[in-house]
């Protein structure tokens, strides 16, 4: 009997329903209407800035800490593509020498121009950009293009060298710039009672020939910087 009544209530038909059943039905309908009305009353949508701001502040802090903790702060572009290596030595604060396709800079100041020649002529900006593109992703270039760009050679003009001698390893403007920095670092170390370690970070493009690297290293050596560290991109496969 009770089951029979429940079925009727469940069907929603008011015929043959008892007063109690009707009351239950009416209560259910009233509750549903109240919920609908409550939903309609919800305030218009407002964008919550607070949680987004929290996330952005965390991101900002992460970027600030990471950038200030990086002693090299290398920014690669079409004239600077670092060599890849599996080396796991951490960089340290040191005097930075930047060797790009186009110039050598000490402490972000350009000191010597680096010239480029290719197949007897001077390289164009497009050639330099293509070389970087091909070095970064060889599949983007044809074999002929790669071979042509491999003939590209970077060098420092003899006018910048000791006695304007082409065979000299000493780049004079670079030596002067380094000596100034070494002098100020030595004075600073003396005041702070720290030992001068002669550390230098060399940030060289991967296409720079060994001759130019050796010239820079030799020049740094003459300026009492003999502890050299070459910046590389850490990769897992050698």
């Amino acid at each position: 009997m009770a089951d029979d009544r429940d079925e009727k209530v469940g069907d929603g038909t008011t015929e043959n329903m008892s007063a109690a059943d009707l009351l239950v039905q009416m209560r259910r309908e009233a509750k549903a209407a109240a919920v609908k009305a409550e939903r309609r009353k919800v305030e218009p949508f407002q964008f919550g800035f607070t949680s987004l701001l929290d996330a952005l502040v965390v991101l900002l802090m992460f970027l600030l800490v990471t950038i200030s903790a990086d002693p090299l702060n290398v920014k690669m572009d079409e004239r600077l593509l670092l060599a890849r290596s599996t080396s796991d030595f951490e960089p340290k604060d040191a005097i930075p020498i930047l060797i790009k396709k186009g110039f050598i800079a000490v402490d972000d100041k350009e000191v010597v121009r680096v010239d480029c020649k290719m197949q007897g002529g001077v390289c164009s900006d497009a050639d330099v950009q293509n070389r970087t593109k091909c070095d970064q992703n060889p599949k983007q270039c044809t074999a002929d293009e790669r071979n042509r760009l491999k003939t590209m050679s970077f060098f420092v003009d003899k006018s910048y060298k000791e006695d304007a001698d082409e065979n000299s390893f000493l780049i004079v403007p670079l030596q002067k710039a380094l000596e100034e920095l070494v002098k100020s670092e030595q004075e600073e170390n003396r005041e702070l009672k720290r030992e001068f370690k002669g550390l230098v970070n060399i940030i060289a493009d991967r296409a720079i020939p060994f001759r130019l690297i050796a010239e820079v290293v030799h020049t740094a050596g003459t300026a009492q910087l003999s502890n050299m560290r070459f910046a590389i991109i850490k990769v897992s496969n050698r």
Binding site: P91, A207, P209, A220, M228
Partner: protein, 206 residues
């Protein structure tokens, strides 16, 4: 007295204190400008360094000179292990009195097949590593290697050569370039990589 406009939304809690929501929009604007600025100057690569000793100019002639600060120990090194990179491949040189007839070895460039089936001529880094492992077995106390190259050899090739000299890998011998490039370093009990010839000194042949 009527409240100024900016205090219109304030609520009085009944104790005289007035509370208002902080307007976050100007701060959001600053943060939104700062983040792209920092991301632009952020390096997404892991930058490490390769330590190198100063060059010994004229090494091939037998006497070290120049700006290098090679220690007396380095100069007296009985082995004088030197790897020279040239256009045709590698050349490994050692002191003849110490090593004997194998004091001058050549490793020519080799044609390797890439994963895509393409044939590529490259320096035989696996063979260089194999030979250096053999030398290390004979001279386990030796830690220095002189690395030099012909003038036009690019820094990338020299850096890869230094990679081959630095660490001991899981296997003592590699034949394929793929297997060598993906090989992991051997670790000691403290989880540090086992070294082969970690003290690299540049050498410039005059």
């Amino acid at each position: 007295m009527p409240l100024p406009k900016y205090l219109d939304d304030e609520e009085d809690d009944g104790s005289g204190w007035r509370y208002a929501d902080v307007d976050l929009k100007p701060m959001m604007s600053i943060v939104c400008v700062l983040i792209p600025m920092l991301m632009f100057s952020f390096s997404f690569f892991e930058i490490k360094v390769q330590p190198v000793g100063a060059p010994k100019v004229g090494f091939m002639g037998g006497t070290a000179k120049g700006s290098g600060t090679a220690t007396p120990e380095e100069l007296k090194a009985p082995l004088n292990l030197t790897v020279i990179v040239n256009e045709s491949g590698f050349r490994i040189k050692m002191t003849q009195e110490v090593v004997g007839p194998d004091s001058d070895q050549k490793i020519d460039k080799k044609t390797f097949s890439t994963a895509d089936g393409e044939k590529v001529e490259d320096y035989d880094y696996p063979e260089l590593y194999n030979r250096l492992v053999e030398i290390k077995k004979k001279f386990p106390e030796e830690t220095s290697v002189n690395v030099g190259a012909e003038t036009h050899i690019t820094w990338e090739v020299v850096a890869r050569t230094m990679d081959a000299t630095r660490s001991l890998l899981r296997k003592e011998k590699y034949t394929s370039l793929d297997e060598y490039t993906n090989a992991f370093e051997q670790m000691d009990d403290q989880g540090k990589p086992k070294r082969l010839f970690p003290n690299v000194v540049f050498v410039v042949a005059e």
